[in-house]
């Protein structure tokens, strides 16, 4: 199936799932309200956004040097650094580390980069047990589903669906739809896993070059347990997560938590800088960091597309997207859904693979308005639309340029251009359209499934203005 048909098939499925749409509407309205409480003063919010933008933009400009410093300081701290070009390499590196440590079981903190690489499946195929320890991730792992949101992976499920899922997999636990009781059950199940796991795998929110520190933001304590209880900790993240200084972290952290979940601060904020030292009672004996490129260096070359990499993965653009709320994350069919997914995934995977995603945007700008690092998402999406239908050769490092150009559509735009750039021709056309308006079709495909057909007026404004004595030039 081609990408456009597959996308429409997923959209169709989502739009016909009323429960799913109610779940999203209710969850996202709640998150929006919580976020807005955190930013009562717009002037302060704008100042903080500008500060966060500047920190991220500067880090991207200096990324090569910062990555060198990060590696040097992490190594000096006793954390081993690995570089991966692509998902396959990243998975192989992680598997290699686990093998060398004879690790057969892994507890995982939440990591979207590991979703990029398909790490869970890779390890499971090699007989390593992988348990997701973030509650949302734990739920969707039971359901065998990918995350539908980058911060709240199980956002598409309501409490009844979660209760049924728990009951199916853990029939010994009494059935309940009480959220606190469900959480307690998950906690008990996961405690055993933490105690027994050979290794922990986590993501990274910010990697600080100056000090060689890996920052991890979380709410459940599962991140701390995954990175401290097992004897081995492997962190995986994208190369763009590096920031220069420790003092860069507070503004990013503040705007991240307030934007993402409407919290002034998360329950846990971990700063990992060393494996266990002699005389210390806990912590992993070895810590590794896998830095994944996976197309990021290619994106970084283009001065406009570079802005995509400022993203701190807060999911706020997703929470405010009026298309996402109708569809949910699975309809996008990519690791990252919503506005950031539409901007990032075609760059990562190629316009020929997922460029159709760019059609799922009204250009309303709600995403860019709330983005904590001021990524101009509609501008990026518009640029990708242009690249997708552009046949001219440029130095743009985008895979699949021009691949979505359709001859029929292209010739309609050529006719449109001819009509609207020749005033005489346009007047002839509009005269004909108004005089023969009774010929306007009443059925216009998808448009008239939901609305009446627009009909030309009896006279154009060109004519009315002249009749009313307005000056023509």
């Amino acid at each position: 199936m081609n990408q456009a048909r597959a996308f429409h098939h997923r959209i169709d499925k989502a739009l016909h799932d009323d429960q799913l749409r109610r779940n999203f509407r209710s969850a996202l309205s709640g998150i929006q309200a919580k976020r807005e409480i955190q930013f009562p003063d717009d002037t302060q919010l704008q100042a903080l956004r500008e500060q966060a933008r500047a920190v991220r933009a500067s880090a991207l400009i200096h990324q090569p040097e910062l990555l060198e410093r990060l590696e040097a300081n992490l190594t000096a701290n006793g954390i081993q650094v690995h570089w991966a070009e692509d998902p396959e390499q990243a998975n192989a590196i992680i598997y290699g580390i686990l093998e060398a440590a004879k690790a057969r079981s892994v507890v995982k903190g939440k990591s979207m980069v590991s979703e990029e690489t398909g790490l869970n499946q890779y390890l499971e195929e090699r007989d390593i047990e992988v348990i997701e320890s973030d509650l949302g991730e734990f739920i969707i792992q039971l359901a065998h589903e990918p995350p539908s949101h980058i911060v709240a992976p199980a956002i598409h499920k309501n409490r009844r669906e979660v209760a049924e899922l728990f009951h199916r997999f853990y029939p010994d636990i009494p059935y309940t739809e009480d959220i606190d009781q469900l959480t307690q059950s998950a906690r008990l199940i996961l405690r055993e896993k933490f105690a027994g796991a050979d290794a922990g795998i986590s993501g990274v929110n910010f990697a600080v070059a100056e000090t060689g520190t890996l920052c991890l933001v979380e709410n459940e304590g599962n991140g701390r347990l995954s990175t401290t209880a097992p004897r081995l900790h492997i962190a995986i993240t994208g190369v763009e997560k590096v920031v220069e200084k420790l003092s860069d972290v507070p503004p990013l952290l503040e705007i991240l938590t307030k934007s993402a979940t409407g919290q002034p601060i998360t329950t846990y904020f971990n700063m990992i800088s060393k494996p266990r030292q002699p005389g210390e009672l806990d912590g992993p004996e070895a810590v590794h960091l896998v830095l994944l490129d996976n197309g990021r260096s290619r994106i970084r070359i283009d001065a406009e597309l570079l802005d995509t990499l400022r993203c701190i993965r807060c999911g706020t653009c997703i929470n405010y997207c009026p298309v996402y709320v109708q569809l949910g994350g699975h309809a996008y069919g990519t690791v990252y859904p919503g506005p950031i997914g539409i901007a990032l995934e075609p760059q990562r995977l190629g316009l020929d693979q997922v460029g159709t995603l760019t059609s799922a945007c009204t250009m309303c700008g709600a995403c860019a308005e709330v983005c904590p690092v001021k990524i101009p998402l509609p501008t990026l999406i518009n640029r990708l639309r242009a690249e997708a239908v552009n046949l001219q050769r440029t130095s743009t490092p985008l895979a699949g340029r021009g691949s979505l150009r359709k001859p029929g559509e292209a010739s309609i735009w050529k006719i449109w251009q001819r009509l609207y750039s020749s005033p005489g021709l346009y007047r002839l056309f509009s005269f004909a359209a108004t005089r023969m308006r009774w010929l306007t079709p009443v059925s216009l495909g998808g448009w008239t499934r939901y609305r009446s057909a627009p009909r030309p007026a009896a006279r154009t404004l060109h004519e009315l203005a002249r009749q009313e004595g307005f000056r023509h030039e």
Partner: protein, 248 residues
Amino acid sequence: MSTAKQIYYFATCLVDLLYPKAGLAGMQLLRREGVEVIFPHDQTCCGQPAFNSGYRDEALAVARAQLACFKREIPVVVPSGSCGGMIRQHWAELFAGQPDEAQALAVAGRTYELTEFLVDVLHIRLTDLGEPLKVAIHTSCSARREMGVADRIEALVGQLDKVEVLTQERKAECCGFGGTFAIKQADVSGAMVKDKTDALRATGAQRVISQDCGCLMNIGGAFEKQHARQGDGPTAQHVAEFLWERTA
């Protein structure tokens, strides 16, 4: 007192062909304030439809054809938030590196959305002559986020003392028009306009007012289709036509 004696009026393609009465009402409002309104004969479209669809060369050719219409150093007034946004925000991208870039930027720099011009430049005062009416205001996303003029329509409608303004749930959410989005993602767009019209209906408003004909075509068209099935309900109207109707 008005500071602008003369302005160009850029009707935009949707207004010219589908909503000329709204366009004319805007011109009449301006004329009543003592402004000489010039309607350049050769105007057609700002280029937005093709630009939004990725066809930049075609958009550029059409946008370029407008430059000759707006040569003099007088304001260009546009009765549409999204066309205003196209000119003021996106012409810069579209014309970047072109020989006529400076000319395009000059036009963009003196372009105003209609309600913005009425409030900020003309400081218009309105006297309501109409019957009591309940309305809801839908601000287009471009007026809100690209042009930053969402509050101007509120200010204008707020001057009408027999008009009660009701507020719909999720007011700032997009109505689902999005230009070719409504065709390419027809079912998503349909779901969005359903949510929007449900929210507008729930206010009990008799009329929905907007600054943007794209939104009006979407919301008004959906109302018409729904009325055919469910009987009466609100209608959608451009703010210029609404203001003129109540004050003339």
